[in-house]
Point group: C5
Chain length 104, copies 5
């Protein structure tokens, strides 16, 4: 899985019938230090993630193993909202009511 | 999923029998800002996308989960035509009858 | 799928039993402009493609969806020989009896 | 599979129900020489790997073939803790009680 | 599939039970010209390849289609030992009892 920040939303009314009812999020991929890596992915939201939240997403066939996406033509899914992570014993990120706090 | 613009078409009469009846589109991959990333992919069209349209495509085994592509030797499929997307609260792209409008 | 040119052949007599009877092709990956991208892949030939021909190949689990490759330990397959493609309304490549013609 | 060092942990309480009970590790990807490659991945821990250990991880659908991860929306799993590896007849790394020894 | 040279071995005693009995090889990935590309992968050996041999390996779910690796958490497998390959009508590599001969 990779880390990402929910940067926005995407609307598509004309789509494969297997996608009806799913909502799309535009994700900016993050490095392990929490900085933007420059990449992005459009993912289905499996957990109710809002814009600005830091999430974990899975790709490939694993993206079809959530309740929302089973057997759907979907290759990326948000499967968790991140509370915190640490590297080398130091906390890099912690979610707060204000939207998340980063180690400086 | 990634964003792309339908740049053209591809014809192949000699192909695996599992591909008969499918039509191929040449896609130019787009960044989240709507600019060409330099990459491309040849995808099966699952939704009737025309040249110039902005689409979402899925790759890998997920590309075989549409009605058109089930059990076919196909690793990329257009599964949605994009109406609009936004990043950071600002609209990047909106489809119009004239072919789409981009934030400048 | 990606575009490639069949650059050569590969022989391997000692191999997993699931590969017996399959023939391997060395593919040079092409950009959408028909130029070599610098990458290559060794693919199973599912359509009888000869050296010099321009082909489409599929990767991953989709490479096992042809008659020749079902349930084989194969992650790349030539699934079509390209007749022509166009980008932006201009033809980039057209197959000819002499081996293919490129827009200059 | 690729080599990595367990760099830290990640906590996510709001996640797809298929992930309950799994623990996440932040992995720094290693080159064959044992140096950090700059990449990372968040993986499910299938073998009880601690921070600082050198591990092998698998990605894609293969990440769902462990007892812990079967049918889970997980695309990366630690499936082995590395004791040692060698390249060109020279040992690159050997695990020790103190945390691992590297050829200098 | 990609070309690689078996560069060494890897030992891991603590691993997912689905991996018991498999042996790991460290592969240096080769370009189509037979030169090292700089990448590597750790693969399960499905054909008894020795250090120094030039092999073909498959990745992803296709790596689980050999007798040795079926349903195992393994995402890369050596599925053939290469005898020779040619590009543009010229032989690039041919296996010899002494370990392989390269076009200069």
């Amino acid at each position: 899985m990779q880390l990402a920040r929910v940067a926005g939303t995407l609307v598509a009314t004309r789509k494969d019938e297997g996608l009806s009812g799913l909502s799309f999020r535009v994700l900016e991929v993050l490095g392990v230090d929490g900085r933007k890596s420059g990449g992005y992915v459009v993912a289905v939201d499996g957990v109710g993630a809002g814009v600005g939240e830091v999430v974990l997403y899975a790709t490939g066939s694993s993206a079809r193993q959530t309740t929302a996406t089973r057997d759907r033509p979907c290759d990326a899914v948000i499967m968790a909202i991140v509370d915190s992570w640490e590297v080398g014993g130091e906390e890099v990120y912690r979610k707060t009511p204000a939207g998340g706090e980063w180690a400086s």
